[in-house]
């Protein structure tokens, strides 16, 4: 089975962000980047499909400036066979423009399955995968936590609140991956060495027209520090009063 996994390079979320001087981008100084979490699950799931079948190919695709090559190499160090960079130096925020470029690339690849993370952990739009499916006219199952194959069909499980649904559709298809499907492996040094020699193709991204642009970024307001109103049962009346009058939750 030939599988494409679309991955995004995102900053590590455990650091404090600063807005860059332009006001429309994040200050990258001190930030560390990696594969977006859900995309990492997708890569792992794809590798497991390939390993189980002991056949097939896993191709990772990412759109962005040359720094995405590092992200693509990481996916190859996990075991992906080759990579495609859709080069575009300026950040793109319009999901549809990104989907257009990805769809153009994927349509030429002859893939049986295309995998996305359920969403990227930085912008969290949950849009790109679905848009690519629409553009290519392929069936899509979103936010899946398990997948199997049966003949020419993919069977996927989606977690719902307190239940789940099982959906199947014919291949080729697109799936977007939720967490819980597989824990991404840690690249071995052997894998890292091998990844240096794997093919990474760079092509210009055929970005569609961007229908929206980013005007301004702002950090959320700092949350006020917590307060200790007292200790033991003597503090209860004051706490209740504050919950009623200040927080207005009672």
């Amino acid at each position: 089975m030939k599988i494409a996994v679309c991955i995004k390079r995102v900053p590590d979320m455990d650091v404090r962000f600063k807005i860059g001087a332009t006001g429309t981008s994040v200050d990258e100084a001190g930030l560390k980047f990696d594969i977006s979490d859900f995309d990492g699950y997708a890569v792992e799931a794809a590798l497991q499909i390939k390993e189980k079948a002991n056949a097939g190919e896993v191709v990772v695709i990412s759109l962005g400036a040359d720094n995405v090559q590092e992200t693509l190499r990481k996916a190859m160090s996990m075991g992906a066979d080759r990579a495609v960079q859709l080069k575009h130096d300026a950040p793109v925020f319009d999901s549809f423009a990104i989907a257009t470029a990805l769809a153009a690339e994927i349509s030429t690849g002859g893939y049986d399955l295309v995998m996305f993370g359920r969403m990227s952990i930085d912008t969290a739009n949950q849009a790109t995968g679905t848009m690519v499916a629409e553009l290519l006219g392929l069936p899509i199952i979103t936010a899946i936590s398990k997948l199997d194959f049966d003949g020419g069909k993919v069977k996927a499980r989606r977690e719902l609140e307190g239940s789940y649904e099982l959906i199947e559709c014919p291949l080729p298809a697109i799936v977007t991956i939720d967490e819980g499907i597989a824990r991404p492996r840690y690249p071995s040094l052997k894998g890292i060495m091998a990844a240096k020699k794997k093919p990474l193709e760079t092509k210009p991204a055929q970005i569609g027209e961007q229908s929206y642009t980013l005007d301004k970024m702002e950090l959320p307001a700092e949350r006020a520090a917590g307060r200790i109103v007292g200790e033991g049962k003597d503090a209860v009346p004051e706490l209740v009063r504050l919950l009623k009058e200040e927080a207005k939750v009672l």
């Binding site: 455990d14 650091v15 492996r185 071995s188 890292i192």
Partner: protein
């Protein structure tokens, strides 16, 4: 020449030839290992170790009962070997002995020693058998060893001594005119007991005893290479070639070139280990001292350093003996003999290495196998993954914002290197805070305390702040050399950018790593641990402290950090710092302290792993500390602090755990 001498000569030559062939076989087996050119440098230190640890049995004496016992057998063997040489030549050349070649008192001394040491050896062998059969010393009773081999060997040694006395005694009975009661008093005593025999009967008895002794000697020589008692041959060379007591710094992990085209990362099989590790396998006599001090083993984990060495030798032999090499790949050292679970139990505390009487380095085998697991196969406990990822992403094994690294120093007026460099200044020392010291709430108190001491003492210091990163020690000890080198190189670049020479740190892991292991990657700095630094400030009278001579007398016990103690021999400075800060304090020692100290359980990356098997090591250690009756426990390592504080707290003991710096800072004049 009698027929007997001819026969003996033939047997003797065959036995020597067979022994030589066996030694050649063993050398061939060692050559299956990787090359290791770090074994012939600094010959004076090596000869020193050879004399101290080998000949004078320094480490053997760490066990006060088995020590003298073994030393009697060892020294006895050395002295009796001279007699054996005389005996063997006498077997080939009729009537030969050393007497004509030495002046009388020298020969008399020689003969007397033969008799006395043979008796001592018999006594020691008796004691050894008693310990094995009756007293059943725990470390000698274990499934992983070869339990019958020592009984055979001990009986063999006893037989050698008995036949020696027998042929000497029967010779005296047969030829009363040659009796030398003063030179061989014990043989003489035996002769007296047999004085009723006729000279001709005694002569036959002598010949029988003589032949029995001769055959036992040659048989013993040739049994050794097949027995765990190969250590008789291998240990002295092993002590000489070992680096565990120098030359060089102890506890430093083997350098690894990641740029080279390596086929195997670390070691998967014996052929990936250094030949010296294979010699370690030959030198191991399964005494189990290593295992008896191993914190993992003694708290019920699967790891036994002794088993690791037994496995190395077993695997080497099965590999070397296999005619068809393609079949031996099925059962490699890793997985086939040693499991992942054993390897991940190791805290890298170095107690096994410290304890081994013949300077075996069990730890480096464990670390090489871990390297293979991680670098080659990405196999490690799942809970370690966040630590690896965080070290890579945020330069700290914990998921804290690197931007907050210097936050503890806010309002303390402590400059960063960058700020000093901007002003064109240079600090006296760089304070390397470390990840725990920067982010862990408990460790931050130590960090602040140490900074206060330096400020009060007028030390001009700076920190790196955000530019500091994990030194990589946890990654390296967990086998992730790639991640380690990435972090270490980043740090070296930062340190060299500021031309840093002297570094002080409150973390023994940072201390050991930066001071002793960064040089492998080209980073050379003088690194001082804060306990030594504080001690010297106190000694110079630079620290303005109040020395209360009255008031309640507190009782402290000090818990040694492995990376400070065993790895770097810093035992006195932290204790001395405590005494200087609190002149009326009682300092009590735990049963396991200094180089016998028990690990807290956090080293070797264990800090980041679950401890689900057996008793928790930190509980074991805290119980030992509490049993001293101390009302406070002092530590000098943030990892030890966490482990000790957690377990003391869980026992609801009203005992505080302090870092040395906190104790001293508590005495600072307001």
């Amino acid at each position: 020449m009698s027929a007997g001498h001819v026969l003996f000569t033939i047997i003797f030559v065959c036995a020597l030839g067979f022994f030589a062939a066996n030694i050649q076989r063993l050398i061939g087996e060692l050559q299956l290992g990787r090359t290791d050119d770090s074994r012939w440098n600094d010959l004076p230190t090596r000869f020193g170790n050879f004399l101290r640890i080998g000949i004078f049995q320094e480490k053997i004496f760490r066990d006060s009962i088995a020590g003298p016992m073994h030393a009697a057998i060892f020294w006895g063997f050395g002295i009796l070997t001279l007699g054996t040489i005389e005996f063997l030549i006498g077997g080939v050349i009729p009537g030969f002995n050393f007497q004509p070649y030495f002046i009388a008192p020298v020969y008399a001394f020689f003969a007397l020693n033969q008799d006395v040491w043979a008796a001592l050896v018999i006594a020691a062998v008796g004691m050894a058998l008693f310990r094995r059969l009756t007293k059943r010393v725990k470390r000698l009773q274990c499934a992983e060893t070869h339990p019958n081999d020592p009984l055979l060997i001990l009986s063999w040694i006893a037989s050698l001594m008995i036949t020696m006395f027998a042929y000497e005694a029967f010779e005296m009975v047969a030829h009363p005119d040659t009796m030398t009661p003063m030179l061989r008093p014990i043989s003489f005593g035996v002769a007296m007991a047999f004085s009723w025999m006729s000279p001709s009967a005694a002569s036959v008895a002598h010949d029988l005893a003589w032949w029995a002794h001769g055959l036992l000697v040659l048989g013993f020589l040739n049994y050794l290479p097949y027995s765990k008692h190969l250590h008789v041959v291998a240990s002295l060379p092993n002590v000489f070639l070992s680096n565990t007591s120098g030359p060089g710094q102890k506890g430093v992990m083997k350098a690894m070139d990641l740029e080279g085209d390596l086929e195997v990362f670390g070691a998967k099989d014996v052929t990936d280990l250094s030949w010296k590790s294979l010699l370690d396998g030959f030198a191991c006599t399964e005494c189990g001292r290593c295992t008896s001090v191993c914190p993992a083993h003694t708290t019920g984990k699967l790891l036994s350093p002794r088993k690791i060495m037994i496995n190395v030798r077993e695997r080497l032999e099965s590999y070397a003996h296999a005619a068809d090499k393609s079949t031996v790949a099925d059962r490699t050292l890793l997985d086939g003999y040693i499991t992942e679970e054993e390897l991940w139990s190791c805290t890298s505390c170095g107690a096994c290495v410290q304890e081994c009487p013949v300077s075996i380095d069990q730890l480096s085998v464990i670390m090489e196998l871990r390297r293979n697991l991680v670098l080659g196969e990405s196999r490690f406990p799942a809970e370690v993954m966040p630590a690896f990822e965080s070290m890579e992403q945020r330069g700290s094994p914990w998921a804290f914002d690197p931007g907050d690294r210097g936050k503890w120093a806010e309002g303390m007026n402590i400059p960063t290197m960058a700020e000093m460099a901007e002003r064109g200044e240079r600090p006296e020392v760089l304070y390397w805070v470390g990840c725990m010291g920067s982010f862990d709430d408990r460790a931050k108190k130590t960090t602040v305390a140490f900074a206060q001491i330096m400020q009060a003492s007028g030390v001009k210091f700076a920190i790196l702040g955000q530019e500091e990163k994990c030194n990589g020690d946890p990654a390296r000890r967990m086998g992730n050399e790639y991640l380690y080198q990435m972090l270490a190189k980043d740090n070296i670049e930062t340190l060299d950018k500021y031309g840093v020479r002297t570094i002080v740190t409150a973390c023994p892991h940072c201390f050991h790593q930066i001071g002793n292991e960064f040089p492998q990657l080209g980073g050379n700095y003088d690194v001082v641990h804060h306990s030594t630094f504080i001690e010297s400030l106190l000694e110079q009278g630079r620290v303005p402290i109040v020395q209360e001579l009255h008031g309640p007398v507190r009782t402290f016990t000090y818990h040694d950090s492995c990376y400070l103690g065993r790895y770097n021999d810093v035992y006195d400075a932290p204790r001395e710092a405590l005494r200087r800060a609190l002149p009326v304090m009682n300092l009590v020692e735990m049963p396991r302290s200094k180089d016998k100290g028990l690990c807290c359980g956090a080293g070797g990356g264990r800090m980041f792993m679950e401890e689900t098997v057996g008793k928790r090591i930190n509980v074991e250690r805290a119980e030992e500390a509490l049993a001293t009756g101390a009302d406070a426990i002092a530590v000098a390592c943030p990892f030890c602090m966490t482990m000790m504080a957690d377990s003391v707290k869980s026992r609801n003991a009203n005992v505080e755990v302090y870092d040395i710096a906190e104790v001293v800072a508590g005495q600072l004049r307001a």
